[in-house]
Symmetry: C2
Subunit: 341 residues, 2 copies
């Protein structure tokens, strides 16, 4: 805990939000945005961070239109556009995954033609997703600007962050914008290249910019395999695969100084002794075990982490910071927090 260390920010950072790749793309269809979810999540983000009127900031052509659909001349300075400080980081979902896994970019080896081509192809795919997400947020009036980690000088050594231009992220926030970063293909000093996941980016930014809280938005599982069962919704982290009938949502996990964690709600007695942490979420960079350890590493800094289902009242509450302190009884999600041993 270095809560007292100053950050490079003029005004404190309120929240870092992770848009899970699976929550905003259609998992089983190559490079397809889940438009409905992305719109719902964008509206929630606007409600959580902005006040005042909605000014559409995407003045680019829309599919099927020949011209700009925004009345730019109607934007007057009477409109206030105050936003609180947020950072958005998104995963790749059905963008980037195919390209990266086919070429094994995460294993490095830029002297191999396939890896080199795959690196280019992966960056194209994730950059196009980033552009679509920035546009969706801008349409909801969020002053979002895309920052690709590769362009921002993020590199790794043995797959850990070696360099990162967090100053640009800080300046962007201080200028009143919402930076939108993403998991990316980057250069690695030991193996040439690798994949830098959105979760690792969040931890690194959290360490330096010290947000009040971090929210991970999980996939909305419309295509959940056992849809006929009662439990088709995954709201956070469970004590066993959430498809199992007795699976219990872990509402609060405590992380101590050493980074080890324990479940505090539900009370330890009531849950399975051999806790088998899992959710139905997938990501290309390690699944839920990675996510819990990343979350624990953030919580260890004294920053609350909430893992919630995207586009629900529960995620909106988390984004608004309404689950700080005592967690409401009807809130469905997993809070991971620092607590001394």
């Amino acid at each position: 805990m270095e809560k007292g260390t100053p950050t490079p920010l003029t005004t404190p950072l309120r929240c870092i939000v992770k848009l899970g790749g699976a929550a905003i793309t259609c998992k089983n269809e190559l490079e397809k945005i889940n438009e409905e979810n992305l719109r719902a999540v964008s509206i929630h983000l606007r409600e959580a961070m902005m006040s005042g009127e909605v000014v559409d900031m995407d003045w680019s052509k829309r599919p099927g239109k020949a011209d700009v659909s925004v009345n730019v001349d109607g934007i007057s300075d009477q409109i206030t556009m105050e936003s609180s400080n947020f950072v958005v980081v998104h995963g790749a979902g059905s963008f980037g995954h195919f390209q990266a896994s086919k070429s094994r970019v995460h294993k490095g080896g830029l002297d191999q033609s396939l890896v080199k081509a795959g690196f280019v192809a992966t960056r194209i795919s994730v950059a196009s997703l980033n552009l679509e997400i920035v546009r969706a947020l801008a349409r909801e009036g969020i002053p979002s600007v895309g920052i690709s980690p590769f362009s921002g000088g993020w590199t790794t050594f043995q797959r850990n962050v070696a360099s990162a231009d967090v100053t640009t992220v800080a300046k962007t926030i201080d200028s009143g914008f919402i930076p939108v970063l993403h998991g990316d293909a980057v250069l690695d000093h030991s193996q040439g290249c690798t994949i830098l996941s959105g979760d690792v980016i969040i931890r690194h930014i959290a360490e330096i910019l010290k947000p009040e809280y971090v929210v991970f938005l999980l996939a909305v599982h419309k295509s959940f395999p056992i849809q006929s069962f009662i439990k088709t919704d995954v709201f956070g982290v469970y004590d066993r695969p959430p498809s199992e009938p007795d699976a219990m949502l872990l509402k609060e996990i405590a992380v101590d100084e050493e980074g080890s964690w324990r479940v505090v709600n539900p009370a330890p007695k009531s849950i399975n002794e051999q806790v088998e942490i899992t959710v139905a979420a997938h990501d290309t960079t390690g699944g839920m075990v990675t996510k819990i350890s990343e979350a624990a590493a953030i919580a260890k800094l004294g920053i609350d982490v909430y893992i919630v289902k995207a586009a629900t009242d529960h995620s909106l509450k988390a984004l608004k910071g309404e689950v700080k302190g005592k967690i409401p009884d009807d809130w469905m999600g997993t809070a991971i927090r620092f607590m001394r041993k």
Copy 2:
């Protein structure tokens, strides 16, 4: 001239290429790529910088296709993909121009709603052009990676470059990739924000990475206003508006230690005493006078600058470095070079 100063590169930079916005977009149509020109320019770039087979590196979905159209499994390590060191910088053309001029982003003032929204809108538009150009180059087998100046920490003070992460550009080149930068909306320390033009980016990179030569690719003027006249093609810099029947192409301009320049070919006697430098090229950031002074500032460093019509044999020759030394008699273009007084 600081030709002896080391650059941050392991192997020297051969060339920086400017793709003029007007050369690769349809000037009079909002956010429309000139596909034909972009393809022709991409093929020229590949011929100038690569040897070996063409490996399609754009594995993303193409319009109208549901799946990847590249046979990824056919990419073997038998394929050599050596490229010489190039940097590509492009302008905005019909991308970004509408958004930036409507909101007067170049004048600054992020406290005004219109400017703030316009900043977001401009970045969306230029980022989408960058993505399309990177994809076009990747389809021709050029290992191109987009680097947005905003993301790369480029900022200005009174509209001059204040900070810029050229290290990332150098690392990208040293890893065997072709960085693709672009004119962008950036933060300005004196007025909040501004537009950083591709030409200013080129000068800054040229100063640090010291390329052998710089090529500016001009628009192919299909929509030249006086098409019925004989002189509809603009090959470089002229002594008067190129639409005038007696306009003469300036084939060689010499720049001295102090940065002042004089025409050396055609021989000074043969041209208009009152040289009225102009071309039919337009750009949002200052037109041809700016371009000449940027070119002169580069030439002053001892770096040859060629201004040529895109997608012609003349531009291919310039890109290949075939006009270094004595300029071939049949070459149409403008060379701007250092020459002691």
